[in-house]
């Protein structure tokens, strides 16, 4: 009898969560600072949140797109990014700080996927640190920027890269690696 019930209810599609990711991630796409339509791979990019270790998958990597999680238990996530296209030495690191603020809200998705977190009233500001080396690609000097949305925001984080910022829901962004 129990076996019978188990067989009948065994394998419906709602047993497996097929959405990935369920909770949106913040996406950064890196473009050439001098050709803003051209994706450009980073050099020795590392990403870590304030007070945490480097994200294991983003430790000194060469990628043109990254998707990073936001802390769903707070209203703010502070990320530090490091890039080095010079010689890899500490002295020539270029760093930027990206602060994202939002109101997290839990939203039910399905039995198998559970609740996701969506980020409302998203805003962020950026602080550059451009004083550690010579910057060959551009000479912009706007060192802070503020936005009241987190969708498709263009910003300059590094001298040789132009960055677009968006939220990854489902797999709508294609990653070039």
């Amino acid at each position: 009898m129990i076996l019978c019930t188990a067989i009948l209810s065994g394998c419906e599609k709602d047993d497996f969560c097929t959405k990935d990711p369920v909770t949106p991630k913040l996406v950064l796409r890196f473009y050439d600072a001098n050709d803003r339509d051209q994706l450009k791979k980073t050099e020795r990019l590392s990403i870590w949140a304030a007070g945490k270790d480097t994200i294991p998958t983003y430790r000194s990597v060469a990628l043109d797109s990254v998707a990073i999680p936001l802390n769903t238990t707070t209203i703010e996530t502070v990320y530090h990014l490091k890039i080095n296209d010079f010689d890899g030495n500490l002295a020539s690191n270029e760093t930027a700080t990206l602060t994202i603020q939002y109101t997290p809200e839990e939203e039910f998705v399905s039995r198998s996927c559970g609740f996701r977190v969506i980020f409302n009233r998203c805003s962020f500001f950026v602080r550059y640190k451009l004083d550690s080396r010579f910057y060959p690609c551009s000479s912009h000097n706007d060192r802070q920027s503020n936005h009241s949305t987190c969708s498709d925001i263009p910003l300059v984080l590094f001298s040789c890269w132009f960055v677009r910022l968006g939220m990854l829901k489902r797999k709508q962004w294609k990653f070039h690696q």
């Binding site: 009898m1 129990i2 019978c4 019930t5 009948l8 209810s9 419906e12 599609k13 709602d14 969560c17 990935d20 990711p21 369920v22 909770t23 991630k25 949140a49 945490k52 994200i55 990073i68 999680p69 936001l70 802390n71 769903t72 238990t73 996530t77 839990e106 939203e107 039910f108 998705v109 399905s110 039995r111 198998s112 996927c113 559970g114 609740f115 996701r116 977190v117």
Partner: protein, 211 residues
Amino acid sequence: MEVPSVEKDSLVYKTAYGLRLGADISKPILASFNGNYTGFELVADYRINKKIYVAAEIGFEEKTSVEEYSNSTSKGNYIRVGFNYNAYDNWLDMNNEIFTGVRYGLGIFDQTLNSYTPNVNSLYFPSESINASITDSGLTAHWTEFIVGIKVETLRNLFVSTSISYKIVLAVNDPENFKTLFAPGFGRIFESGTGFGFNYTISYLIPFTKK
């Protein structure tokens, strides 16, 4: 030459008509194995002609659905009413059945979201389980059922029956920002709005007349 006419057998075997009352014994058994479930169901049917019975079930169920990202409890009462059609031709005065049936079902229940863990798909910022205890009361579910089963008269007027059913939701209330994962009388509601049921009943026929 005259062919002798075959005399028609004039002996007619009569079977009992009456009210049959019983209980689903699978639910208490299931409850004794599964700490997340309790249930009780009374069944009744009434024969209206040779093949057709009016049938109804009433019951109570409480079930805690333990999912990867949520834990919720549904609790309430239900009723199902409909017909069974006996497709089995009995020998002599036997009164067994291979039947098919249809039901309309109505469940009235509460659902409590006990706890949940937001699915943040990130080990970098892990989420923690949140105790919610959010109860939505007076939820209803309406559904139809298609049943196949057998009934065997084991002792005089005592029947053992087993059946399985396929259920389709007509309408169901979902709690705000959540979903009815289980409705009493219906069982687990699948993503497609369907479900399955199983019954194992023992019932007693109170004969009114023989036809």
